[in-house]
Amino acid sequence: MDAFWIIITGFLVASSTGMLGNLLLLRRMSMMGDALSHAVLPGIVIAYLISGSRASVPLFLGAIIMGVVTTLLIQFFSSKGKMQADAAMGTVFTFLFAVGVILVTKYAGEADIDADCVLHGEIAFVPLQTSSFLGLGVPTPVWTLLILLGLVQLVFWIGYKGWLLTSFNTEYAKSIGIKTAIWHYTLMAATSVATVVSFESVGAILVIAFLVVPAATAYLITDNLKRMTLYILAQGLLSAVLGYFLSEWVGGSISGSMAVASFILFVGSFIWSKKRGLKSPL
């Protein structure tokens, strides 16, 4: 049963972050996932220090605020401060991460928090935090992740047309009066929430991997956005299953193994797309 819940958790993380990663990939902002996952750290710590608990709601709020602040700062530095776009991003997220680590170190003694627990949440502990539902022991993280997935799906499908237009042709979208900035900030906020919610249960590294690798795998196979989302879900499920058994086999971190499994699937689709590329008349 433990194996089942762990795989389900991995799959849930893959499906919600994968959907967002899809949009990040198309907007050429994949490193933003890495940046946000570092930058939200001070938000989490401050929210934790203010609320004094590890309850999810304040942590999410802290993370959302920090995610949007990060985006605004990057925007400000590159447009008003005339910093190179990549340097602006690198400066902002490493600075915020450093502040986060300092806060964690400073308050480590007084509070039950450390950088390891924030960044390297362990998926192996998921089955231990059960809450009973209809006589079935369903782990709490699974509930949280289900809600997250629902939210992400809602945002994704409500905004489907907007995402499609703003991702593929920003100039055109602007010219027909779509507020591209709103879509940008919605995506950033959603990514920070997804990042933080997933952090807690699976750790940062798997979040970064699932933000980009499933989307990239699907991107190599198809050009159709709807089909891409389907492949992303399949990729996520396969990575979770393969990763779990890989970790059983070598006896290492489950999150890390899932990231590795996801990469192996990517390599598969990479080779496949290369072969197909050679055959096609183009």
């Binding site: 890495d34 991003m89 450093a98 300092i102 170190t105 990239a216 999150s255 890390g256």
Partner: protein
């Protein structure tokens, strides 16, 4: 203060290695980071730093010891592999650069985490300290580590010096460098090599994320102060060294404060201060010079319009209404502009309005003249429609220098005192567009 002096004079042997090592590390990575910065590839450092974890661990597994040279070699090899892989993915598929970076970063690091957990559960005490490679631990550095630092810094310096001109060409203009016969691939490799080298020695001291920050932020800060390549390198190295040194001091004077994050906070503050206060490129300077320009344009417009009214026989007296017939001024703007012009003695207040002083009149006339010259230039040389020249000249009149003015007059074959009474489109009666 006492602690600072003690730190400064390196009396405490414990802090000596740490201070020197972080100073060296900051300096070297600051300078090396400028190459990636100028090529707009700053995030490569982030991926390389994360990708080094499995290399370190495999080196440990193969050798069974925590010798810094062995681990650095392992780190460098896997860092190198990650760069090759990123290049391969972007060249061979439709995946873009940033996605390739993120893919390689997360996969290598994930693999590293798997290895780390396997090692931690299978090895006893001899593996402890390997996790320092993730978050960094400058305090745990040994003399051996700082020797490695010094050695690597020397190597980086030697490489940069010996390929200085080729690196400069490749960084600024790849195609040009290729055309003049520089082996671009080789120089590319040299830049990658020194990047990897400095990251691989640094991650143990300051951690993965902090290491990539040390490559990104110093050149970003330095860029606000200079346009010269050498100065950027030196300044970036200086900022990095300063931050490393101060960061080590904070962690020395405060208990349980990590060196890496403080170094980054300090270098970030340097960057923020540079962004705000640097001359020429700083935000405040740019805002201020924009404001001054706006003020000058408004003043010149007012003077010019007053002169034009005089020429057209509308009298020497002017007020907001008479000026606004040709050039609209809002009340607030009018008050501010008039106040500045009166202070400069360019206009005088008389009981029913304002009038130009002698200096004001010649200043306004000069602007008016430039306007007319530019109109004629556009019409004759640029073959621009006579209906369009006025708006263009409205802007250019504020920017023409006496030198350009003389050059234009010479080119058009006009005498240097050329000053027609009216603007050229006023000489020709308005024609409907379809009659042209």
């Amino acid at each position: 203060m006492d602690a600072f002096l003690k730190y400064l004079t390196l009396q405490d042997p414990n802090v000596r290695y740490v201070a020197l090592a972080t100073l060296l590390l900051g300096g070297v990575s600051g300078a090396v980071g400028s190459f990636n910065f100028l090529r707009k590839k700053t995030l490569v450092g982030e991926t390389v730093a994360h990708s080094m974890l499995p290399g370190v661990l495999i080196a440990f597994l193969l050798s069974g010891v925590k010798n810094p040279y062995v681990l650095i070699t392992g780190a460098a090899i896997s860092g190198w592999l990650s760069i090759l892989l990123v290049d391969y993915i972007t060249q061979q598929s439709k995946i873009k650069g940033d996605s390739a970076l993120a893919i390689v970063l997360s996969s290598f690091f994930g693999f590293g985490i798997v290895l780390l957990t396997v090692i931690q559960s299978n090895y006893g005490g001899e593996q402890s300290g390997l996790d320092h490679y993730i978050f960094g631990n400058a305090a745990a550095m040994t003399p051996e580590d700082s020797n490695a630092f010094a050695l690597v810094s020397g190597l980086v310096l030697a490489l940069v010096l010996s390929f200085y001109h080729s690196i400069k060409s490749v960084v600024f203009n790849l195609e040009y460098a290729d055309a003049i016969g520089i082996n671009v691939k080789f120089i590319d490799g040299v830049i990658s090599f020194i990047t990897i080298l400095s990251i691989s020695v640094g991650i143990k001291a300051v951690g993965i994320v902090m290491m990539s920050a040390l490559l990104i932020i110093p050149p970003t800060a330095a860029r606000f102060w200079t346009n010269s390549f050498v100065r950027l390198l030196l300044l970036s190295g200086f900022f990095g060294a300063l931050a490393g040194w101060l960061g080590a001091f904070v962690s020395y004077s405060q208990t349980a404060m990590p060196t890496g994050p403080w170094t980054i906070v300090i270098i970030s503050l340097i960057a923020f201060v540079s962004m705000l206060f640097a001359p020429k490129r700083g935000v405040i300077y740019q805002r201020w010079s924009k404001l001054l320009l706006k003020r000058r344009i408004n003043e010149e417009n007012l003077l010019k319009t007053a002169v034009q009214n005089e020429v057209r026989g509308l009298g020497k007296l002017f007020n907001r209404r008479s000026i606004s017939q040709r050039h609209v001024f809002e009340q607030g703007l009018w008050n501010r502009t008039v106040r500045r012009l009166r202070r400069k003695g360019l206009i005088k207040k008389v009981h029913t309005g304002f009038t130009l002083s002698t200096e004001g009149r010649s200043y306004g006339a000069e602007i008016d003249r430039r306007h007319k010259i530019w109109e004629i230039y556009l019409q004759r040389r640029m073959q621009m429609s006579i209906n369009l020249v006025h708006d263009e000249a409205e802007t250019m009149e504020h920017f023409l220098t006496p030198e350009i003015e003389a050059e234009i007059l010479g080119e058009l074959g006009l005498c240097s005192r050329f000053n027609p009474l009216l603007e050229i489109h006023e000489l020709v009666p308005d024609r409907p567009v379809n009659a042209l």
